[in-house]
Amino acid sequence: MTREQAKECLSALRASGADDADPTLQEALELARKDSELGSWLAQQREFDNILVEKFASISPPEGLKEIILETLEGTARPIQSWRMGWFALAATIVLAALLLGQKVDLFRGSSRLFRSFRTDALAMVAVKPGPKLDLETPSLETAEAFIAAHDAPRLDQFPQKLQAIDTAGCRVFLWRQHPASLTCFRLPSGNLLHVVVIRADAVGRADMPTGPYSQNGWHLMFQKKAGLLVMWASQAPMEELKQFIET
């Protein structure tokens, strides 16, 4: 075995030393013990590998990923994580709502699991009775927008004109899988609420969505991508009323 051949073999040694007893590598290791230049090369190689293993290991998975995987495997819906206290009290309601809403015909079959998970979680959040928990209750869209902006959560730059003219119920900001998101609720003339959930589009992966509003289990929904954001519109108001307000 030449020195170059030995180097190739020794490149396969893991920094942990897990392969040090591997019979296939013994000849190269033996050569490194006898040949000081090769020995020195191996020591440098091991140090290089050790540092890199350490550097790569410093990249942490997103907080909560493990729990999400385990919950998914157990078939349990995962509640949205909140920046605020009090959310956990609603968890049971949310899980029930998510289970109910998650069973429907999948119009998003081509979408990523992450997107489908977001849709279920967001629906579960707004489906809470009598209404979703809000961080700020205000009839003023301007005040709600300022609140969302102050918390660095994503929001629509401009709502459709007809929506701008009606009162809001309020808004909330929250984290969905560590990604900031916002909810703005409008009071429609029929008395129903219109919920607008906004999150960065890249937080939910690939989303193959139906174009335009559609109905699911008593809810009318619409997903849109705008300027790098994913927007979910959801309401139990009559479809005609909803269309009137969300069409630009």
């Binding site: 190739e8 190689q45 540092i51 890199l52 790569f56 990249i59 995987i69 495997l73």
Partner: protein, 183 residues
Amino acid sequence: MAKKIDLQAIVSEHYAALYRFGLALAKNESEAGDLTQETFFILTKHQEQIRDPERIKPWLFTTLRREFLRKVRTHAAHPEVEFQPAEHEIPAIESSALRTIDGKTALAALETVEESYRSALELFYLGDLSYKEISATLGVPIGTVMSRLSRGKEQLRRALATALEGDPHKIIPLPESRSPEAR
């Protein structure tokens, strides 16, 4: 009959390494998380077929890689990064300099390595897979894995040297004899 596997223990042991591997492949945190979830989801569907628990680790990495490639083929959303081989000698990198970089810089350097070598390196560094497991995962002979690891490390060394040279935040301390206090 296949033994029932402990999913919780498997997730706990492998999810972080799988996520990092997914991040190296997809270059996107959301997709990496998605790929990791998808991999364990597939494991639950096929757990009855896994007879040897020791094969689970390479199986998980193989599955994640296959899922990634399937998505790439479907969407063609991940252009290959072509490596421009350097013509100069492999630069020496001081360990002390190498220790100053962070994980993301190391990952960015890894991304510049030619794809065929990079796959082996990703499994080696991020998956802690043995050369035999890498051989099985990539479906290439052991000799090829060794050669790819060897050449891949050379390319990675060059890429890291370039990253260190080009880092505007790098602080190069003056040698003692030239520091103001020493004058």
